[in-house]
Symmetry: C2
Subunit: 345 residues, 2 copies
């Protein structure tokens, strides 16, 4: 019931008959203390159940053993996979991750950045809500390392790890064009997200490349990148007269695609016979969907792991570190949802 008074390094020192400095050395530079002393101190630490106070350590050292991860949506498996990668890398280095969920909300993101700064985290891995680099640069100038995640840095002095979203858009679009589709809907949003815009630009590029006019690609913007928003977009698409209706839909992420699929199915529209469908991210659930979903795969876990490694490297050997923009390549995975499509015009 009564919380025993926390045992400090001082209690350990007294009990072991050494000075606090020595105890500290046992903890941080065990090699410089004599084996006999070291063992005695370790025994006392064990006996007393001493646990070092990281706040004090951090206060003295200047920076802590934690880093922040700010993502757009915890409910999106894409980000949990990324988080998994981050966790693996940081766990190995004995660091803790403060996981924050901006939810695509600017104000929320800002609050979390304040909080992380107060925590004096070593650094922040972030998928920013918008291109408010200014806030992030200010952060970095104050000594908080910043690595952009799933977003390419436009500044040479800020690291980033991303996937080539334009290329991803191209892959998906080329695939649909080759299958003969000529009325294609792009579903994505909010438009503030760079990923969404880039994937759309990639799609447009594929269109031009194939010598097709712009009007073959029609844009449906969504309020959020979620399943619910996907359902909504689908009913907008189905609201058009059949002759003008798209024969294929390319979604900026898999959650949207799953939403689209649900609504199409509910309204008796067959996938892929009536409408073909391609998603983005290739989350694990894409393959398990009502109609297995074609999708553009990203190395999710690797994304997180690499970002964390970059940050740790910069933290531990700043002199050796060179800022870099790592860009991975996406890969199209074709499944039922776009396989046997025969656009019926």
């Amino acid at each position: 019931m009564v919380a025993g008074p926390a045992v400090s390094i001082r209690d350990v020192a007294a009990q072991a008959g050494v000075s606090v400095g020595t105890v500290s050395n046992v903890l941080n530079r065990p090699d410089i203390v004599a084996a006999s002393t070291r063992n005695r101190v370790l025994a006392v630490i064990n006996e007393l159940g001493f646990v070092p106070n990281d706040a004090a350590r951090q206060l003295r050292r200047g920076r802590g053993r934690t880093l922040g991860l700010v993502v757009l949506d915890v409910a999106n498996p894409f980000f949990t996979d990324v988080a998994r990668g981050v966790e693996d890398a940081t766990g190995e280095a004995g660091m803790a991750v403060i996981f924050c969920n901006s939810d695509g909300d600017q104000a929320r993101e800002s609050r979390y950045l304040d909080l992380l700064e107060e925590q004096r985290v070593q650094g922040v891995l972030i998928t920013p809500v918008d291109d408010a680099n200014e806030r992030l640069v200010r952060l970095r100038d104050r000594g908080v390392l910043v690595v952009l995640l799933d977003r390419r840095s436009t500044r040479a002095d800020v690291c980033s790890v991303s996937v080539d979203d334009r290329l991803g858009g191209e892959l998906a679009m080329r695939h649909l064009i080759e299958a003969g589709h000529r009325r294609i809907a792009f579903v994505g949003g909010p438009w503030g997200l760079e990923q969404v815009r880039d994937r759309y630009e990639g799609a447009r590029h594929a269109l031009r490349e194939a010598g097709l006019a712009e009007e073959h690609l029609r844009r449906f913007e969504t309020a959020s990148p979620t399943v619910a928003a996907g359902r909504d977009a689908a009913s907008r698409i189905l609201g058009l007269p059949r002759s003008a209706r798209a024969t294929a839909v390319f979604c900026a992420n898999d959650l949207l695609a799953l939403g689209v699929l649900q609504e199409l199915t509910r309204q008796q529209v067959r996938v892929p016979e009536d409408i073909a469908l391609v998603g983005y991210d290739d989350i694990d659930f894409a393959a398990a969907a009502a109609v297995p979903l074609s999708s553009v795969r990203q190395p999710r876990q690797r994304l997180g792991r690499t970002a964390a490694q970059l940050l740790l490297e910069e933290a531990n050997e700043p002199e050796r570190h060179r800022h870099q923009q790592v860009v991975f390549e996406p890969e199209l995975v074709v499944r039922e949802s776009s396989r046997y499509a025969r656009p019926a015009d």
Copy 2:
């Protein structure tokens, strides 16, 4: 490039021409300082871009503004929804969450608990890997608040928030029995997880209640509660001669059920015609599965939110707080995967 020397409360005090104590008061008890002074100090804080150092505050105060959340699997949407609830509650209270993923691994869990203790978190919300309450009780005795999550506490002096897993198992099983199934497989694991055992017990109870013998329910244990393990279990089930093969499968969670569904489909077994399927958790993807999945729904977000509130309450008004075991009720959601099942014996 050069990180400006962090500005401290002392710099603010000097610049504003007041003492450090006053600056601290402006921050923590603004009401007791004269309006004119307060404004002057606030102006300087803004101008200098002062950000309080939480480590120092925590050192002085004894405990920090963070709490730990330890879950079994980040990749499971059930837990991200729970995390979401936790985040909502803590965000309102201005606290940060350190998110940890034990991955069902005892050693990993233990490492994370050490780390959280070093961070002097206010408390820990945890879904323990096994019933190693001993470790948690020790933690609590040292002043770290503990709330069990998705696991009922057996001790009156430890709070817990859970869902009645036995009842959930009963609901699912009754449903299958009423549909006429007499050879039912239970897929779940690892068996160390209390949730798995309780759901199984609930199923057995429903069996006895219906006056049926034990052999109508056959247990298939899995190494982990994942999609891959589900696929594996399904192929074990299909390995049996048709006459002995189950006509219905009840899975301890939806990931397993999705795996089972994938493998059944791959091997041309129809759901629900050949084999009916019921999952557990009712994650969002259950409804979007190849065959929409019947599942036992749990109030996921509410689970997290309630647990966090309990912990905050205990932290902020310990005298008023009474330890309690909150138990929510699950609810069966029937969808295609078990709807039109006619067991063909």
